[in-house]
Symmetry: C2
DNA sequence: AAAAATTTTTACCATTTGGTAAATCCACGA
DNA sequence: TCGTGGATTTACCAAATGGTAAAAATTTTT
């Protein structure tokens, strides 16, 4: 069904902008160009739409981290991961904000999936990074907090866009500037000293 | 009036947890132990309560950056700023989330104050940092994005606490670990090479 | 103690919102 | 052409929600 996708796209607009409770079915319906009951023909209810979006998002969201390859060159693997996350913040800002809003409110709907999907992947990749550190291929940093820092800095550009745009204006190559900055920062972070 | 503070504290709980639209006056009233009309005796409406919170928060929020001293030692000034922001995320997580929620939704209510209060301060401190960089006292980094990175990484621990706690568990000295990590990261970032 | 001012409660109200029932429309095969 | 099944709309509804009017209670002032 094509209308399902239309509805999900409209819902993504509305949910990412107003949050779960702030979004109304009427808004979503208007955005989708459909009537409210027609939307409820395709989805059981508001919560199911939201949950569907979050579920689909989960895969996309984890993908860049999945690609982090234990057998690749440590430093460029991490820097490439940073780049992928930053690109994603640029290309999928609505998704980023939807996710941020959910976590901000205590992950009431996606909490279980953080345990079942995110955590195992996170632990696995932390182990990979810890291995690199132990082998002396990168600096001896805390893998968990390194990943947090990558998430925080990259998603910041999508989630806090309203603030960023006030402070730096509408720079056409803001993305490249940010990319360069993060490359520099995490590059230095990973360099083995001495 | 003492009740004003009670109401604002209750509202901070509710708004930070559910967002503006997700919060109801009934919830705030229950949390404050007052009746709904009684709350509307002290505040003109829901929006005014929210706006009052954001206004008061603005000062607190900008304070750590105000303290960044152009005449101090560059590196320790910045590292101390990171520490102050991180401490604030620990001590005032509700405020951090309230602010994050507002920005996430496009700063519909605090937007003007970002221009009038945050931007001038931001520009001023960017100039200070740029001066340090030009004088060779710290590495030649982009001040704007440095500050963004500091905000993002420190506030991450408050705003995404639901995710962090899933991934690292309930570590009693998680704060110190995070502090150490950020010190390391930004310390390396600022080191003048060669 | 009486009057005045402030605070709190009771009883509402209009609107919004998520959701439903049932009628209607529309393609398409028999 | 008629029927059939999916898609869409019309007309609702009950609950929740932000807010108000006015009375009652309480405190303060005279």
């Amino acid at each position: 069904m094509r209308n399902r996708r239309v509805i999900l796209d409209a819902a993504l607009n509305v949910f990412s902008q107003h949050g779960y409770r702030g979004a109304t079915l009427d808004q979503i319906a208007a955005e989708a160009g459909l009537s409210k009951p027609n939307i409820l023909y395709y989805f059981q209810g508001k919560e199911q739409i939201h949950l569907t979006l979050l579920s689909q998002l989960m895969e996309t969201w984890l993908d860049p981290l999945v690609e982090l390859d234990a057998d690749g060159d440590p430093k460029s693997e991490i820097l490439d991961y940073v780049q992928r996350k930053l690109d994603m913040a640029r290309d999928l800002p609505r998704e980023s904000r939807l996710f941020a809003g959910e976590i901000l409110q205590g992950a009431p709907r996606i909490g279980p999936r953080l345990h079942s999907e995110l955590k195992p992947l996170f632990d696995q990749k932390c182990a990979v990074i810890a291995g690199w550190a132990k082998a002396g291929k990168i600096a001896d940093i805390n893998p968990q907090h390194l990943i947090f820092s990558i998430w925080a800095t990259t998603q910041h550009y999508a989630d806090f866009e309203a603030q960023v745009s006030v402070l730096v204006g509408e720079d056409p190559d803001a993305h490249d500037t940010a990319s360069q900055h993060l490359r520099e920062m995490f590059g230095r972070m990973l360099c083995v000293k001495d």
